[in-house]
């Protein structure tokens, strides 16, 4: 098996190599930008937890849970950085199996709003395995495509990648979670594009997807999903119903003005005009309370983060690193675009989290794993010179 080529010889090697990793290649900027974004996420969790007569540190508030998940994410990030990423390549197939199994488990025992099955309760916490699935699929695809380097512009490579992605994507769609399946598809497209796959085939595929939209409208989309798209196209048609979120979030964003109303002063969120303000619509609160300047800072941090991820991907001598970086960058970019686009009313409402800032443990931990892998690749590039 081709995968075996990259396998470390003995288990003991892992520790020695990680200890011996080239820490000067560690991308401190990348970590800094991520940490700053995470800090903004904590600030938003704080402002969303402020409620009259209640301590934000009381158990169970959004803020305390965010603190806990952030701590866990930091631990995970450090652990994954130290861990030799080659093991991920080795274990790609088991990882794929575990991924599919977790998604099947979610469908079987998961909970969600209105009969959906999106998250699984583990003790006092809930976890959305579809978030993890994004990172795991990046590992699997990076391994698969990396092993096919040199033959990437062939159709079988593209089809193989699509076939690999199909089961998890369908499982997520069945939850039903259209947003996450959209992100999964984007990750696939981004990685194929960055891998150097034939543009001709990619365009042909894109055309095929476009052609399938009418079919999807008829057979795949649920009524509430159609409502969201229709109310995005014309929010005023049902201003009190499904257009409510679209209108209210734009009011929130617009009323922030250049400098914002100040933290915890957002009337739109205080009055609970914004549904799911701590999750999918957190950016609306951010834009109202921190204003245009605050939002711009967030954009700059995201742009800087993407730049660092792409730089790491570029530097990687291992195609796995390049491809994984491409997948991670695609994921961050598409999620920022779709989430913020939804909040400011240029895209329909989908349940896609804003990386780092949307409160949600699975999203944060998955990002920590992804960034950890990027750093792990970074510090293991120059091993040969060492």
């Amino acid at each position: 098996m081709r995968v075996m080529r990259a396998e470390p010889g003995r288990f003991a090697d892992v520790t020695s190599r990680s200890v011996g990793a080239a820490w000067r290649s560690y991308d401190l900027q990348l970590t800094t930008y991520a940490a700053l974004l995470g800090a903004i996420g904590l600030v938003m969790a704080y402002t969303n937890s402020v409620e009259a007569g209640q301590s934000v540190l009381a158990g169970g508030t959004v803020f305390t849970r965010a603190l806990m998940w952030s701590a866990l994410a930091m631990v995970v990030f450090v652990a994954v950085t130290v861990f030799d990423y080659h093991w991920f390549k080795t274990l790609a197939w088991p990882i794929y199996g575990i991924n599919v199994a977790l998604l099947l488990l979610t469908l079987a025992i998961g909970d969600g709003v209105g009969g959906s099955a999106r998250w699984v309760e583990i003790g006092p916490f809930t976890f959305q395995f579809s978030e993890l699935a994004k990172i795991l699929m990046m590992i699997v695809l990076a391994t698969y495509l990396g092993n096919r380097e040199g033959r990437l512009d062939s159709l079988p490579s593209i089809l193989g990648a699509c076939l690999l992605m199909a089961p998890p994507l369908l499982l997520v769609m069945m939850q039903p979670d259209l947003g996450t399946s959209l992100v999964l598809a984007s990750i696939l497209a981004g990685m194929l594009f960055m891998s150097g796959a034939s543009l001709r085939w990619l365009l042909a595929m894109a055309a095929g997807v476009l052609a399938a939209i009418p079919l999807a409208w008829t057979y795949v989309l649920r009524d509430y999903q159609k409502d969201r798209i229709l109310s995005f196209l014309n929010p005023a048609a049902d201003a009190q119903g499904s257009g409510w979120q679209v209108i209210q979030s734009q009011i929130a964003v617009g009323s922030g003005g250049p400098f914002g109303t100040g933290l915890t002063n957002g009337t739109q969120s205080r009055g609970e005009f914004l549904p799911v303000q701590e999750s999918d619509f957190v950016f609306a609160v951010l834009a109202q309370e921190l204003g245009f300047i605050g939002a711009l800072v967030v954009f700059v941090l995201f742009a800087a983060l993407l730049w660092r991820i792409l730089a790491c991907a570029w530097r990687s001598r291992d195609p796995f690193g390049t491809l994984f970086g491409a997948g991670l960058a695609t994921m961050v970019l598409i999620q920022v675009f779709v989430n913020v686009g939804m909040v400011i009313g240029i895209l329909p409402v989908t349940g896609i989290p804003l990386p780092f800032i949307t409160h949600g443990g699975a999203s944060l931990v998955s990002l920590a794993i992804g960034l950890g892998i990027v750093q792990s690749v970074n510090i293991r590039q120059h091993r040969a010179e060492w």
Binding site: A252, G254, G271, F273, F299, L310, R317, A329, V336
Partner: protein, 633 residues
């Protein structure tokens, strides 16, 4: 193989162009997001800030206490009492839970779940306006509902005031009731501050004097969250002004006397509908206005159940209709007032002109019979009116002709609503040639003119029109608008509007003519056409009437109504009818009486006995026996 990864890898064939493309895509995305954000926050920021403010605050109406209603002696006829109401805000009740919540709530309130759903679906406001489901909920039930908010999403308990009518059916047709505003009315009145769950006067003076009674709602600026919960009152924008109070012309005591008399007569004769009206002819003030059957207006004030409402609608005696005002009937011989006045004033006859009354008049081959198949011989006005001779009045009608007869009918106020302060007044019909051409395409036949002269043609009148016409006779020719309200008193005690007689017209009739007609009306009593009415200590003039209607029975007989309209002089014990100083005119109407005698006259006597506290009993119970006897007119 094992050490393959240790060998430095050759530079990989990367695709810089794809990285650049990705970078460009990222720049495009952030550029797009930033420009949209700038548009929302920088260009339109102030506008959205205003919207956010509007989101947060709301102008909330503060209902004003509704004005009270008193009778002419200052007795309260209605009170406002605080009750618990249960409301549902449709937006807060998930559609999937409607059935379940309606069933649960219905169980608590003792209502049908389907009624709750119907009320919700029929509510006029938006999904965010609370819909009143039940009023007058007992306190313990209200407590349970309020505490079950988890099982009953969107259901709230509110304290509101409702009307309580202590006398219920006694005054229901006068006072009317308040009820929830309907969608069409709300659409019309929303800009005057009516709310989707508002109460509005729906019948009686509650409806006609709605704007005075309602007062002016106040306005508070309230901070709200998205669920519509009021967080705090920011300021009172406008104080509410309580509604004005009404003092009615109605005398509750007289109303009771009239009701008791009518109930007695209807029970004795087995009648289903009746009307009794008492007025002061000098002013047009209505002292009593009774229409039976009545209904309990408290049912409506408490929020009538669909079942009770359907039962009232289905009752074929129409308890919700004010038969004194909202229905019209053939007047029968009481209408001879019109032909008599007209013939005198048009100088066709004088009071002393003798006209030969016959058993019947022949018109072509049709015989027009007198009620008395022998006739009364040569008759002057007192004889003709007093005995109610049909052939006498056939001839007067013939002298006048259709249009002149119609003219005098209209002069007395027939054919047009009187303008009494009650909604839904009927107009009645006064047939003229033009009327018949419009209605039936040809002019009046001579026989129809005859019939019209005795109130048995196409003519129909409302009881209030008829009593008002006799009031004009009794007061010397002034046709007043019947009024129900003496005073409107503002919340601070100042009189907003005080009573003024409202003259419709001065009749173009000489005092002499009216005097002759009053004396003729007295002769009705004196000639014992009304049996022992003349024996009563109270002196009465008036006219009885028997009006056939409907379909003939197997023996060719028609069912008939009985009327009696009368008045007493200022000094009721002195029979001075030459003067026009009467302060009491009254009307009794017995629908579908079919009694041996004139049931209305007996009812009128019963009222006089009640009203003047006459100890001796003059009532002829024998005349109230049913049997479709075709008795005197």
């Amino acid at each position: 193989m094992n050490d393959a990864y240790l060998v430095p890898r050759p530079e990989r064939d990367r695709r810089p162009i794809r990285f650049v493309a990705f970078g460009l895509a990222a720049i495009l995305v952030f550029g797009l997001l930033t420009s949209r954000l700038a548009y929302l926050q920088l260009s339109n920021g102030p506008e959205y800030a205003a919207q956010a403010e509007a989101n947060r605050t709301a102008d909330v109406a503060v209902p004003a206490p509704r004005g009270l209603i008193y009778d002419r002696a200052g007795r309260p006829l209605v009170t406002n009492i605080a009750t618990f109401a249960v409301r549902i805000t449709p937006a807060d009740l998930p559609f999937s839970r409607r059935e379940d919540v309606s069933r649960r709530l219905g169980g608590l309130l003792g209502m049908e779940a389907s009624d709750i759903i119907t009320t919700l679906d029929g509510a006029p406001g938006s999904r965010f306006d609370p819909v009143r489901i039940a009023q007058d909920v007992p306190e313990d039930v209200a407590r349970v509902v309020a505490e079950s908010s988890n099982e009953l999403p969107g259901v709230k308990v509110a304290v509101e005031t409702r009307r309580e009518y202590p006398d219920g059916p006694l005054l229901a047709h006068i006072l009317g009731y308040t009820g929830p505003i309907d969608g069409a009315t709300l659409g019309r009145l929303a800009d005057r501050g009516y709310l989707a769950d508002d109460m509005i006067g729906k019948a009686g003076v509650e409806a006609t004097f709605e704007s005075a009674l309602r007062g002016t709602y106040g306005l508070e600026l309230v901070e709200r969250d998205a669920t519509g919960r009021d967080v705090q009152v920011l300021q009172t924008t406008q104080d509410s002004v309580p509604g004005a109070s009404l003092t009615l012309t109605i005398d509750r005591t007289v109303q009771k006397e009239a009701t008791a008399a009518l109930k007695w007569g209807m029970k004795a004769a087995g009648l289903k509908r009746g009307v009794f009206i008492v007025m002061n002819p000098q002013t047009g003030e209505v002292l009593a206005l009774v229409s039976l059957p009545s209904y309990d207006n408290n049912l409506f004030a408490k929020g009538i159940s669909n079942k009770d409402f359907q039962a009232l609608l289905a009752n074929k005696n129409k308890p919700l209709t004010n038969h004194a005002v909202q229905a019209h009937y053939p007047p029968g011989s009481t209408y001879k007032l019109v032909a008599g006045t007209g013939a005198l004033q048009d100088r066709k006859i004088t009071a002393e002109t003798k006209i030969r009354t016959k058993p019947y008049l022949l018109l072509g081959s049709t015989r027009f019979y007198d009620w008395n198949r022998r006739g009364f011989g040569a008759c002057n006005l007192n004889c003709g009116f007093g005995h109610s001779s049909d052939t006498y009045f056939f001839q007067l009608a013939g002298m006048l002709g259709a249009d002149r007869l119609a003219y005098w009918g209209k002069i007395y106020g027939f054919g047009k609503p009187t303008g009494i302060d009650l909604p839904g007044e009927a107009a009645g019909i006064v047939p003229s040639n033009q009327w018949k051409i419009n209605a039936l395409g040809q002019p009046m036949f001579a026989g129809e003119v005859y019939q019209s002269g005795i109130g048995q043609g196409y003519d129909v009148v409302t009881p209030i029109q008829l009593v008002n016409a006799f009031a004009a006779l009794a007061n010397g020719g002034k046709l007043y608008r019947p009024q129900l309200v003496r005073e409107i008193v503002g919340p601070d005690g100042t009189v907003v509007q005080s009573f003024k007689p409202d003259l419709i017209r001065k009749l173009p009739v000489s005092a002499r003519t009216l005097r002759s007609m009053r004396l003729a009306a007295r002769s009705t009593v004196v000639l014992r056409h009304t049996y022992n009415l003349v024996d009563m200590p109270v002196k009465v003039a008036g006219k009885s009437g028997t009006a056939e209607f409907g379909k003939r029975d197997s023996k060719g007989r028609l069912p008939f109504h009985s009327w009696f309209v009368g008045f007493v002089p200022k000094n009721p014990y002195k029979a001075d009818f030459a003067k026009a100083n009467s302060e009491l005119v009254f009307l009794a109407f017995a629908y579908d009486s079919r009694t041996k005698g004139n049931a209305a006259t007996e009812i009128a006597k019963a009222f006089l006995q009640n009203h003047f506290h006459i100890k001796k009993d003059y009532l002829n119970r024998d005349l109230l026996r049913r049997g479709n006897f075709y008795q005197s007119n």
